[in-house]
Symmetry: C2
Subunit: 191 residues, 2 copies
Amino acid sequence: MDKTSKKIIDTMMEIILERGYTGATTKDIAERAGINECTIFRKFKEKKEIVIAGMELPQYRPNITSETFADIKWDIESDLKMFMENYMKEVTPQFVRLSIGLRSPQIYPQTAPLIMDIPQTFLHSLTDYLCEMKKRGKIKDIDCDAVAASILSATFGFTFLSASFGNDLFDLERVKYIDSTVKSIIGGIAL
Amino acid sequence: MDKTSKKIIDTMMEIILERGYTGATTKDIAERAGINECTIFRKFKEKKEIVIAGMELPQYRPNITSETFADIKWDIESDLKMFMENYMKEVTPQFVRLSIGLRSPQIYPQTAPLIMDIPQTFLHSLTDYLCEMKKRGKIKDIDCDAVAASILSATFGFTFLSASFGNDLFDLERVKYIDSTVKSIIGGIAL
DNA sequence: AATAAATGCAAGTGAACACTTGCATTTTGG
DNA sequence: CCAAAATGCAAGTGTTCACTTGCATTTATT
């Protein structure tokens, strides 16, 4: 990847974060990247291609695979924290904002699968983990799919809401949120 | 509100669900609504105004106020279910998709406050409720803000993910999800 | 230094879009 | 039935956008 192409991609992603895909005009990109507009089209066949190329860079694609959640200690508290922490480490507010910006009809079909892959991987790893913990007699006889769904939703929901509304909604550190959520789910809040 | 204006709004909202705000051209709207394009501009000063007018209709604005969560029995299980159910009853997948479609730079500043109001109301009501339950000695000595954040995130996260990915991600009924989530949070999953 | 590749520059193209206008026709309400 | 209001129709405006072209200039390679 040459320097100019990289600069174009970075600038495009930057503007998408601010104004979404349709709001990121090639003129804007050129201006902010400090290059000529026609250079963009010498590097990329069309505007779409910039984003697609960007999504292929590790920098813009959270590295969520089953290995992301492989460091399991078979201790429910530290493991759940690990799941949530590693998810949030990769799925940053920036990525969430980016994926919202990518929901333009022009490119959604091509970007959606890449985005959807992430919750799916989390869900499968977590479900497998919970089932194994149940088998080992380390947790109650729960519905693993449903509990995994709760934890994914709580993890994703916090990330999304923080990314969207910032501190206006929650006045809560990530670590504190994870701590409290895991504590509730493990020990319950009832007496 | 006259019939034609209503038809325009409905059609606009329908197309926004499919293709977002910028994807909803006035030509499309006119065509699908079975009216002439210029009629749109006789009813509304500009395209934006259609959406703003739509968002003011109860039909497109979830009715989430503190009263939505007023039916409290002071029983933690049924109350938490009530919170989650009433939220999900109002904040439908359709509304979530709509609010995503409304994230165009052209109208975001004007629609954002309306959308943000909803999680905020939920959060405040739920926090107040948890504090009161704590005071009454009905639940553990928890961090009410943090637990409320978990429950909001879990509720919103499920709604969003279902709206985005449908059954491809979760194969889980809403009722079952709520049941399981509340059960985990109350009783915990640890032995 | 010579050559080739990358980039700048300026102008432009065609399409799509929001929005307008003037006038004919239909619908509505008293 | 009649007047006023609402809508249709057809054509058009100006702007913005993605994308192009031809040529000059700079940068990198050998």
